[in-house]
């Protein structure tokens, strides 16, 4: 059983993260915990340029996490039925995959 705050995500390939939720709804707990976890100083330290914004609404919309990567790719996670750990691992796996691709590309460029 993993604790959500122990998962380390490398945010280097991420350009911006927008977390949108409506705090008066009842399905926002995992999204809010996700926001709290990615604001941890160790994860923020991996990429100082990544802007994390919290968009607080009151229109009954469902909680949403919108991640914009540096190569233009976009990841949208609808947090209504996801747990914090699932969201963090999904983001973490995608970041790692992108990191690997970057390393391979840089290795190919400079052999």
């Amino acid at each position: 059983k993993k604790m959500a705050s122990k998962i380390r995500v490398v945010l280097r390939p991420v350009k911006s993260i927008v977390v949108r939720f409506c705090p008066f709804e009842s399905n926002v707990e995992s999204t809010r915990k996700f926001l709290g976890c990615i604001n941890h100083k160790k994860i923020q330290a991996t990429n100082r340029n990544c802007e994390v914004t919290a968009d607080v609404r009151h229109d009954g919309s469902e909680p949403l996490v919108d991640v914009m990567f540096a190569d233009g790719e976009r990841l949208i996670m609808k947090g209504a039925n996801l747990t914090t750990i699932e969201m963090l691992t999904a983001l973490g796996s995608r970041c790692n995959a992108k990191e690997l691709k970057e390393e391979q590309r840089s290795k190919k460029k400079s052999p």
Binding site: P23, F24, E25, S26, V28, E29, R32, K33, L35, G36, N39, H40, K41, V52, T53, A54, V56, R57, H58
Partner: protein, 260 residues
């Protein structure tokens, strides 16, 4: 004794993670009490295995019995004190803002506290398990869904919403979720609208002016007839006095003279 040692070594318990030399001469080797794990004599191993503790099985398996009521945890005095403090906070302050707290570096937190203190706004860290029962019993039931994940309360006896929003804009790690201002629950948009309102005296003056507009129009309308008559009579008297016994001039139309 050599073969006994070899047998003991090979029959050693599988959980032992020590390093034992492959061959050992017992006579010149270790004593009974060693610093490393020493293999038990085989007979001793057998004795230990046979005499292991077996828990007695209950006569009725626990599945067949009704489950015991879980003991409700009594609140310690500390929790009661914290709850009293929360109740006090809700009673004494006119503006209570609830924000989500994502971890901030220490000096930023101190700076934010300092700026908010200037406007008489206090920062209080709250625990959800304390606040939730307090809110459930008070009239603030609709604030309950806000209290998940880490929260802080910004409380103030005054209503300086604009300044509070300005300070919070400079702190990205604290997100305003909602507020309870003068016993009215507002969302974030509501707080922003509230901050844009003009101050109380100005809005009071505006209300008074708007309300008194119609009555003042009515009174001037009502006074127009008698005022017109008075003006005409005055003019007539003046002309009579000035012109002596001349023909009484026609009363000048007051309306058109006003228009010129």
């Amino acid at each position: 004794s050599l073969c006994a040692k070899m047998a003991a070594l090979s029959g050693g318990a599988p959980w032992r993670r020590g390093w034992l030399p492959a061959l050992q001469l017992v006579r010149r080797g270790s004593k009974a009490v060693t610093r490393h794990w020493k293999a038990m004599h085989f007979q001793r191993q057998k004795l230990m295995a046979v005499t292991e503790y077996l828990a007695p099985r209950p006569a009725i398996p626990p599945r067949c019995l009704t489950p015991r009521k879980e003991r409700v945890e009594e609140d310690s005095g500390y929790m009661r004190l914290l709850r009293q403090q929360v109740e006090e906070v809700f009673r004494d302050n006119r503006m209570i803002a609830i924000c989500q707290y994502n971890s901030m570096p220490g000096e930023d937190l101190v700076l934010m506290r300092h700026y908010l203190r200037k406007y008489n706004i206090e920062v209080k860290f709250v625990l959800n398990e304390i606040v939730r029962p307090v809110l459930a019993q008070s009239k603030y039931k609709n604030l309950l869904p806000l209290f998940v994940a880490r929260n802080i309360l910004l409380v103030s006896p005054e209503l300086k919403a604009k300044e509070m929003l300005r300070v919070l804009k400079g702190v990205p790690q604290v997100n305003l979720l909602g507020a309870c201002i003068e016993d009215t629950i507002l969302s974030r948009q509501g707080v922003e609208n509230f901050a844009k309102l003009p101050p109380l005296e100005v809005s009071q003056g505006q209300t008074v002016g708007a309300l008194s507009l119609l009555p003042s129009q009515t009174s001037s309308l009502l006074q127009r007839g008698p005022a017109h008559l008075t003006a005409l009579l005055d003019e007539h008297i003046r002309r009579l006095q000035a012109g002596g016994t001349g023909t009484p001039p026609e009363p000048p139309p007051a309306q058109s003279s006003e228009g010129h």
